[in-house]
């Protein structure tokens, strides 16, 4: 942290603690310079940073004042989905989101895309260029069904940080985490079976269940502590649930990290009802806490956890390099991988293995965690500033996704049409429900560069929400809630 960042941090703490009150004039640049023994320009930089974060406002010829702030919005309450297994819908809406994913000028606030512009990613390009120059035929040939050995060894080593004792033989490389999840679901379930999911839950997983004729039972989920174990237990007692799919670390979309005690309790519960756990850890490496949170897999003694992950969020999604540690379901997962894609693209696997082997991965992760955490601070300031009152906002503990809950009558699907004209894309909450719930919610991505364009988009989004909320309060709210 540089001096000016340190100073900004200190001042921001004082504002947060109420030492400087809303609307109060801040000490002059000269006073602070003397008080902290730093240069005038350092103080100016610190003030500039706080201004960017909308914590303070300059007034010409009078200095800086603490911004008149709205209160920090509360986090969303425990969700209340339908309490029975349902057929999954919403494919059209997911397709629409995907179609806008690569649209030229559209600001992608709704995608799960990581920031690919950081310098710590550069060695990956070099490695890929070197590999192509070497013309090693093995990188163009079929890979083994398990995946490139060197990569599996590195993945096993990395898994130690999440508390796992794995060997290369325990790992199956997949075409992204998507294939890991897809193969896992098919490995543990037959069509017609029931799987319990968090609510809200990642739309990709949900569509996978739909595609294989599996019904989902959505379990109430808290935006701080995760899936409700009490509700899950009731569901287990009532329905023959084959497996639970969870994202316990840096949850998508809610951002929580499940407390360790609850992770243990979840595992015990699935043991009692002999269900499998499909654990999606794709954002786990991007937790802000250090050391990173443990996985359910690390607690698993009888191989019932299928740990799914990838390098899509930590390195780059276009590589399509993911993996699964399928525990006791290894043979079934291998079969499902074989019939899905045969094998995974070989060259990207070698490139990732080499990137890790050369020691570039951990520094890159460290940087990305910092980048996203700083982005979060800025982004949440903007949201507080530009969004209307009466909303709830998640407090992510890692990664780059934020969940915004608007008043019940709000219709985000309708608003989305308006946003398209502004070249802004958001993920509508209903994608994250089997039954089209959460039409009043949005998932936003703050992995983008926090620049003037992004700020303008957040401002436009805030204005659109305000208009839509106004319209919703005058309209009849009939069509906005589906259960």
């Amino acid at each position: 942290m540089t001096r000016y960042q340190h100073l900004a941090c200190l001042l921001s703490d004082r504002i947060e603690q109420g030492l400087y009150r809303s609307g109060e004039r801040l000490p002059s640049v000269r006073t602070l310079s003397l008080e902290h023994g730093v240069s005038i320009s350092t103080v100016q930089q610190a003030y500039h940073l706080l201004e960017e974060k909308l914590l303070i406002v300059p007034q010409p010829r009078s200095g800086y004042f603490v911004a008149t702030r709205k209160a920090t919005p509360p986090v969303p309450a425990l969700t209340r989905p339908v309490q029975r297994p349902v057929e999954i819908t919403q494919w059209d809406a997911v397709l629409e989101l995907l179609s806008s994913r690569t649209g030229g000028d559209t600001l992608q606030l709704g995608s799960g895309m990581p920031d690919l512009s950081q310098p710590t990613l550069k060695p990956l390009w070099k490695i890929m260029a070197r590999q192509a120059q070497k013309q090693d035929i093995a990188t163009l040939n079929y890979d083994s069904l398990l995946g490139v050995t060197a990569l599996r060894e590195e993945v096993a080593r990395l898994a130690i940080d999440s508390g796992c004792q794995l060997t290369a033989e325990d790992i199956v490389i997949t075409t992204g985490c998507h294939e890991a999840l897809s193969a896992s679901v098919r490995a543990v379930c037959e069509p017609g079976d029931i799987i319990a999911v968090e609510s809200p839950a990642f739309h990709g997983t949900m569509q996978t269940l739909r595609g294989f004729g599996i019904r989902a039972i959505e379990i109430p989920t808290d935006s701080v502590t995760g899936i409700s174990l009490e509700a899950l237990e009731l569901a287990f007692e009532q329905w023959p649930i084959k497996a639970v799919v969870v994202v316990p670390n840096c949850n998508n979309p809610l951002g929580f990290i499940m407390p360790e005690a609850r992770k243990r309790a979840l595992l015990t519960l699935t043991q009692r009802f002999d269900a499998a756990i499909i654990e999606d850890d794709v954002y786990g490496e991007l937790a802000w806490e250090y050391p990173r949170p443990i996985t359910l897999k690390s607690l698993d003694m009888d191989g019932r956890v299928l740990l799914c992950s990838s390098f899509s969020k930590t390195l780059a999604p276009g590589l399509r390099v993911g993996w699964v540690a399928p525990g006791r379901y290894r043979d079934r997962v291998l079969h499902m991988k074989y019939i899905g894609t045969g094998s995974t693209a070989t060259q990207p696997q070698h490139a990732v293995a080499e990137f890790i082997r050369q020691g570039h991965y951990l520094p890159h992760l460290r940087r990305m965690r910092q980048v996203y955490q700083r982005n979060y601070e800025t982004f949440s300031c903007w949201v507080r500033h530009y969004f209307p009152c009466g909303i709830c906002v998640s407090r992510p503990q890692g990664s780059f996704l934020m969940w915004v809950e608007l008043p019940e009558a709000f219709d985000a699907v309708r608003m989305n049409a308006e946003l398209r004209a502004l070249n802004i894309q958001v993920a509508v909450g209903s994608l994250f429900s089997a039954s089209g719930k959460y039409r009043n919610c949005l998932r936003l991505n703050y992995g983008l560069p926090m620049n003037a364009q992004t700020e303008r988009a957040v401002a436009q989004l805030g204005a659109a929400i305000e208009r839509a909320m106004h319209a919703a309060s005058t309209d009849a709210p009939a069509s906005s809630v589906t259960d």
Copy 2:
């Protein structure tokens, strides 16, 4: 064709036509040189080539003699699989074949691996290196669900050669042909449905059916004209068949190209019974005839054909770049792709698109067709020479796969264990049947370099077959045929 190749060809024709008889002495080098107006060394090279092909044998100080040859083995007769839908087995055997696919010193006579050593492939490496050097972020990011537009445009253009009028919008890029087939099967069928397949049929397709709970009805197939339309019609009348999976061009494993009239009749038949056709054209570009044979898709007027293909056999399998033209099933196929892998690795798609755009693809194809055809001539000479009598051998019309049928009592599965000790891998015929038929058959790959090591392996394989045939004729044949 060089002069010596031309001369060799001419001499080989004369031997074939019986102008030079078995055991007869050939004209001296000097005579031929005068007769054809070519140099002494040209004649020597031509004789050397014929010697390599085992058509002639040198005798010290006496010149060259026509080799004492066995008769060309007949092609396999129409197959006779079980005439009812069956659950598919054989996964363990497929897994075993796959596990040996990347084994260090093992000679891969059983894999569907193309030759990656040809100089016409070199520009692909250069393109990949250049792309990595350019550090274009788009190549690391998610691709659209359809796939990279530039690649889809090139694929649509290439499809003209097979008679298809397609646009980029008709094409969905997949992770190899494997995903194209897998998504197609799931797009047209529900678990419990019945699909008709050729018999023998590619094991990957068969395992896909198994994995999704689909039953296969194996249709008798002729090694020259393809699937029996008469048997297929009977099956249609008897069972509610949802789709037919066929490899009409350079069939895997039999090597035939379905005559055009039979392609038309197959399409008419599926129209009558309103079934879909999943057409696997992955070897179609490697047909020896020019122009290449048409696809069923090119005859399809109502969108019932899902054309699946890839660059795995023509360029390189490790790229995992395939595609499907799904006709009327486009939306379902997109959904199935989304839930299987989300998207395909981006960089290889860009590399292939650029390789085609720069004009390297068609010259590469031309070369590969020549290489495989020449390999076939040599390889079939070796098979004739080293394998015992009483076998049937397919006459492939393209690609690099050969089907060998041994006497009914022969057990290739048992022989395979013996081959492992010799570091030779073959594909056992039973992989190509839903019900474990064809234990007396082998599929061999002549895409390998035709060098001394390969010849030795063919010789060892021939000896092993001879031993096993001998053992089979003395043993009881009880366990060798399963229907």
